[in-house]
Every structure is written in structure tokens, then in C-alpha cells.
């Protein structure tokens, strides 16, 4: 934008005056809190505390992110035989005996089991000082990795469908977009009726379609289906938004290219592959980035529908940040989570920049 200035004269005073209100507010309410988040994350700041705040270095991050490996040998009897329980499973010493006041394993002090598996006759346990946060990271990444491509692709499909010349197409476009303007909180409450375990709309639909052979699933109450259910609902709510972004991309593609493809006798797949898709490169990057950022911020759906449960299967990073920073008034812990989230988002953005730069 600096290339085509009307004059090369400096207008320092006017420039500052015009920019100041907006820029000042952004500094005060985005940059300053952001700097605070970094500072707080290295203290033991609480919302209300009788004790003065202390600098604790990276302790909060250690508390959040420490992960360790523990290999357990089976319990053996005096004769060297492996002990087994009633079901014939190998018995192992309790992890607690390593993580609680065990001077030989001081580095594991206070850690808890995140997950474990058996390897030959040993048990390999991954310990984390904060297994719930680890689950939150995994869930958030799963959400991003599944929702971003799926929602992007579905939105593109809808955009192609809506981009045809048909009478009344604007009505369909308006309907597909409608969930976007409804608050995600309202949407989440409505979908609780759809996902209900006993009398939910979804269970009833499957019941009818399968002529009664379908066993009802408690979609939000089952750790295996809860996160997936939230994903489906989130896609339903936001896909119209991205459909419109794709649509704007589609409309920048010159119609002469399509005519040329038609004259050459290209099939509709060929037309898409060689005319439409190359013209959508920039839009694709934008859509993917926007979805990714929104997906990382997953919060309201979880707050309304599951509260992170069942068994932490829908914990997310932002939900954890809010639960600690606000719910438990642990500002420093919540801030550390925020900084972790920011670093992840920054990483994705830098990756995107790198990928787009290479192509140019």
C-alpha cells in the first residue's frame, strides 16, 4: 500500500491522529493482555490471592507439559515366576509406588499415568504431570486434523452445487448459510436433542431406517462418540461460512476458461481438475487457515454439551484454559495454556506461509 501514495510528503501528525484511536485500543486490549499472558505464565498469579505474586520461571509449563516413560517389569514371586491375577493377566507393581515419594524416581514425582501398553511381558507406561491437558491437546489436534479438511471439502462441494444457474438457487444458498448466523450456543443446545441417548432425534431416525435393529447410542455420553458428535455438529454449523468463501473464489474464475474446456470436450471432472481447482488455490489456503484457527479455539460446544467429559474425551485446550484461569481462578496456569495454544497456532500459520511462499 505504500507504493501508490498520493504524495511523498510525510504527514506524521495527521497520520498518528487518525491511526491512534484504533491502534491504541488494539495495543491495550490485544497486545498488552497478550504480553501479560506470557508474563503471568511465568508466575504464580491468581485472580484473588493474599500472597504476593512470585516469579516461578517455566514451572507452569513443566507442570503442563512434562511427559515421561516408565517401563514396569512384572511382579515376580520368590521363585522367579511371574505373578498373574485371576484372569491370567500379568501383574505389575503399581505406578503410584514410583510417582509418590520414591527417592529413586524423584523425576517422576507427582506424575500420573496418561496411557500404557504391554510389550512382551513388560508394561510401558507414558506418564504425564497433567494427563488431562495431554488429552486436551490430543483432542484439539484431532478436531483440527479431521474437521479442517472435511469441512473444507464439504464446503467446496456445496459451493459447486450452489454455483449453478437454476431458478431459486439463492433461496438454497440462504438456507445453507443460515446456521452460521445462529449462535453456536443455541446450536449446541438444539443438538443435545438430536444426540440424546434415549429419545434423541438421531437415534429415532436410525431406529426407523433400520426397522428397529439399531441400538440406541448415547452420542454425547459415550467416550467413543462424544468428540465425533461435536465434530459433526461443528461442521454443520460452520460449513455455510466456508461455502461462501469458496463461492467468491469460484466467481473469480473467468467464464472463457470454462467455454474453452467445453469446446475441447472436457468431462466435468476434467473441467474441475484443470480449470476450477487451479483457480481456487488462494481460496483453498484461506479456507484452510480460517477453519484451522476456528477449530483450535473450540470451546462453546464443549462447554454447553459435555463439559469436557465423558472421561475427558472432549477436553480441549481452550476449555482447559478457561476452566483453570476462570473456574479455578488460576490465572498463571490458564495463561500458560493460552501461550501453548498460541505457539501451536503460530506454528500452523508459519507453516502455511512457508507452503504458500514456495509455490510463488
Amino acid at each position: 500500500m505504500q507504493k501508490s501514495l498520493p504524495t511523498l510528503t510525510q504527514h506524521n501528525q495527521s497520520g498518528w491522529l487518525f491511526a491512534l484511536p484504533g491502534f491504541g485500543l488494539m495495543m491495550l486490549f490485544i497486545v498488552v493482555p497478550f504480553v501479560f499472558a506470557i508474563l503471568f505464565s511465568m508466575t504464580n498469579q491468581r485472580l484473588i490471592s493474599p500472597n504476593p505474586t512470585q516469579f516461578v520461571g517455566l514451572e507452569n509449563y513443566q507442570q503442563l507439559l512434562s511427559v515421561n516413560l516408565l517401563v514396569l517389569d512384572p511382579d515376580v514371586t520368590a521363585t522367579g515366576e511371574i505373578k498373574r491375577d485371576n484372569r491370567g493377566d500379568i501383574r505389575y507393581p503399581r505406578i503410584r509406588s514410583y510417582t509418590r515419594n520414591n527417592p529413586d524416581y524423584a523425576h517422576l514425582q507427582g506424575m500420573k499415568e496418561w496411557f500404557s501398553w504391554q510389550w512382551q511381558d513388560k508394561k510401558i507406561a507414558i506418564l504425564a504431570s497433567d494427563p488431562v491437558f495431554m488429552k486436551a491437546i490430543v483432542n484439539t489436534l484431532l478436531f483440527v486434523l479431521i474437521v479442517a479438511p472435511l469441512q473444507g471439502a464439504l464446503a467446496l462441494g456445496l459451493a459447486l452445487l450452489i454455483n449453478q444457474r437454476l431458478r431459486g438457487i439463492n433461496l438454497y444458498r440462504a438456507i445453507y448459510f443460515m446456521p452460521v448466523v445462529v449462535s453456536i450456543v443455541v446450536v449446541s443446545i438444539l443438538w443435545r436433542f438430536i444426540y440424546d441417548g434415549q429419545n434423541g432425534l438421531l437415534n429415532n431416525l436410525f431406529h426407523t431406517l433400520s426397522f428397529g435393529h439399531f441400538t440406541a447410542v448415547d452420542w454425547l455420553g459415550n467416550p467413543n462418540t462424544a468428540l465425533g458428535s461435536i465434530m459433526v455438529m461443528s461442521i454443520w454449523q460452520a460449513v455455510g461460512f466456508h461455502m461462501v468463501i469458496w463461492l467468491s473464489g469460484l466467481q473469480t474464475i473467468s467464464p472463457t476458461l470454462y467455454e474453452a474446456a467445453k469446446i475441447e470436450g472436457a468431462s466435468s471432472w476434467q473441467t474441475f481438475r484443470y480449470v476450477t481447482w487451479p483457480g481456487l488455490k488462494n481460496t483453498a489456503i484461506l479456507v484452510l487457515i480460517v477453519i484451522t484457527m476456528q477449530a483450535f479455539a473450540l470451546f462453546a460446544q464443549v462447554d454447553v454439551m459435555t463439559n469436557g467429559g465423558p472421561l475427558d474425551s472432549t477436553q480441549t485446550i481452550v476449555f482447559q484454559a478457561v476452566e483453570r484461569g476462570y473456574g479455578k481462578q488460576d490465572i498463571s496456569g490458564g495463561s500458560a495454556i493460552s501461550v501453548v495454544l498460541f505457539i501451536m497456532v503460530l506454528g500452523i500459520s508459519l507453516l502455511q506461509r512457508y507452503l504458500t511462499r514456495e509455490k510463488n
Binding site: P6, A19, P33, Q164, M178, V181, V322
Partner: protein, 292 residues
């Protein structure tokens, strides 16, 4: 021959419209369920989910849920709060962000590059990551009002407005639009002796209808649907917006009919706004993508 192609064409049309309509059903059925259920008593609402009756206004239809909902919560107050906070934020945002955009595009000043880079960088800071430290900050900010100097912004309108006035996306939208305005107009006005303020207010802003609509609509959606922040900063009923008001309906025994009535009431303004301005809504979202 002609007949066959015509039939073929008709068949294709039918298939297309069927596909389009089925997809439309997927997007609209929860909203129909919400509206229809808001007229039903609880026992019927829950029983009806077993069949298509869930989407039909049949049985014991009445406005009882609405009457009870108004008794349960000060709905007009919540609506007023939401609309006030949204309207004031949108207006101030348009003003301050367009001024900043104007400065970035038309004026040359020291530090501009750095300031603009900072604004672009804020685009990748999700609000959720700064909400916690911001909560602590606003609880200690000073304010000079009718009662003189006071400390702490919690439980006010301003705590819901001021932090959201300026944002990177709105400023970015304005700069993108201003870049394409004809420079000759502005230079001519400057030669004739107009001040920068006059250029901004009399020439640039009157030409900026589309981007103003875009920015206003996007901000409206964000502000009306605010959830996390108002929960944290409005402990007093007096300042609560509609979504926080939902808490009144989720107590020991949730009265689902009333919940549906309340959801319908708070969704109606934004849906009505959307249906009236449907083209502008969609054009506004689309424009965020055009130059990406």
C-alpha cells in the same frame, strides 16, 4: 428425439432440485424443531421426538412457554443489553477502524510499517488466548464517569464494548477497500485545500458503503453471539446479554419448552436481520475471501 432430450433435461432438473432440497432439510431441521417445540408443553415436546411430529406444530399448541419464559427471566432487559452492546460496538468499530485504515492507506507517517505489521500479527491471536489475562486487567482498569474516578470495569457495559471496538480484521478490510479507491479524487481535494479530516469524512467514507456494510455485519454477528467474555465479566443481572441469560433456564428441572421459547426469541432478531439483508450478509463474508 427432441422429446427424449427434453425429458432427459427435465429429469436432470428434478434430480438437482431433489438433492438441493434434501441438503436444505439437513441445514434447517434443528431450527424448525426449535420453533415448533417452543409452542408445545414439555411432555409432548419430549414424546414427539420419537416421530416426525417433532417438526410439526400439532397437538397441544399454545404460547404458554413464552409467557412462562418472560416470567422466569428479564428477557427484555437481556435483549436490550445485547442490542445496546452490539450497536455501540459496531458503530464505534466502524468509526475507529476506518480512520485507522484511512491513515494506513492515504497518509505517510513514521512507524506506519511497524504498526501495520503488528495489526496483521494480531490476526492470528485467538481471543480465547488473551481472555484470562484481559479479565485480570479489566478488573483493575480506571474509568472516569459520572461518579468520578472509579477502578475496575467488571459488571458494566463498557467492559463488553471497549475491548472489541478495534480489531485487525476490520482495519484490514478497510485498508483493502481504500486501496482501490480512485486516488485522483483525494489528490484533487487536497489540492483544493481540504483537510485530511474533510477528505476522510466527505470523500472517502461516502464512497465506502460496501465495506461499511461488510464490516458492520461481521461485527454484528461476533458481538451478538458473544458468550465466553460476558460470562466472565457480568456477574450482575443488570448487564447480562441474551446468551448469558440462558443460565436462568438451566436449573434443577429444565423446562425444555421454555428453553425453546427463549432460544427462538433470541435467535429471531439475528435471523430476521439475516433474511432481510441476506444478499449483503453473503456478499460480506465473500469479500473476506476475495483478496486473501
Amino acid at each position: 428425439m427432441a422429446n427424449i432430450t427434453q425429458d432427459n433435461h427435465r429429469l436432470r432438473l428434478i434430480v438437482r432440485y431433489t438433492v438441493l432440497s434434501l441438503i436444505a432439510l439437513i441445514f434447517i431441521f434443528p431450527l424448525i424443531f426449535m420453533l415448533v417445540s417452543s409452542f408445545k408443553p414439555d411432555y409432548q415436546l419430549l414424546a414427539d421426538t420419537a416421530s416426525l411430529r417433532a417438526f410439526l406444530p400439532v397437538g397441544d399448541i399454545s404460547l404458554t412457554n413464552y409467557e412462562k419464559a418472560f416470567e422466569r427471566a428479564p428477557i427484555f432487559l437481556f435483549m436490550f443489553n445485547s442490542l445496546l452492546v452490539t450497536a455501540v460496538t459496531v458503530l464505534l468499530s466502524l468509526f475507529f477502524c476506518s480512520m485507522a485504515g484511512f491513515s494506513f492507506v492515504f497518509l505517510n507517517w513514521r512507524g506506519k510499517q511497524l504498526a501495520f505489521s503488528i495489526i496483521l500479527a494480531t490476526l492470528i491471536v485467538p481471543f480465547e488466548t488473551i481472555a484470562i489475562p484481559m479479565l485480570l486487567m479489566v478488573s483493575k482498569l480506571p474509568w472516569i464517569g459520572l461518579e468520578g474516578l472509579t477502578w475496575g470495569w467488571l459488571n458494566t457495559y463498557r467492559v463488553q464494548i471497549v475491548p472489541f471496538i478495534a480489531d485487525g480484521l476490520t482495519i484490514f478490510l478497510f485498508t483493502q477497500y481504500f486501496k482501490d479507491l480512485p486516488r485522483e479524487l483525494i489528490e484533487a481535494a487536497r489540492v483544493e485545500g481540504s483537510s485530511w479530516w474533510q477528505v476522510y469524512w466527505r470523500i472517502v467514507m461516502p464512497l465506502s458503503g460496501p465495506v461499511i456494510a461488510t464490516a458492520a455485519i461481521l461485527k454484528f454477528l461476533v458481538m451478538y453471539n458473544q458468550y465466553l467474555w460476558p460470562i466472565m465479566v457480568t456477574q450482575q443481572e443488570q448487564y447480562r446479554p441474551v446468551l448469558v441469560g440462558l443460565q436462568y433456564f438451566f436449573q434443577l428441572n429444565t423446562a425444555w419448552g421454555e428453553v425453546m421459547a427463549y432460544l427462538t426469541l433470541i435467535t429471531l432478531p439475528v435471523l430476521a436481520f439475516y433474511l432481510v439483508l441476506q444478499r449483503a450478509f453473503i456478499a460480506s463474508i465473500a469479500s473476506t475471501g476475495v483478496k486473501g
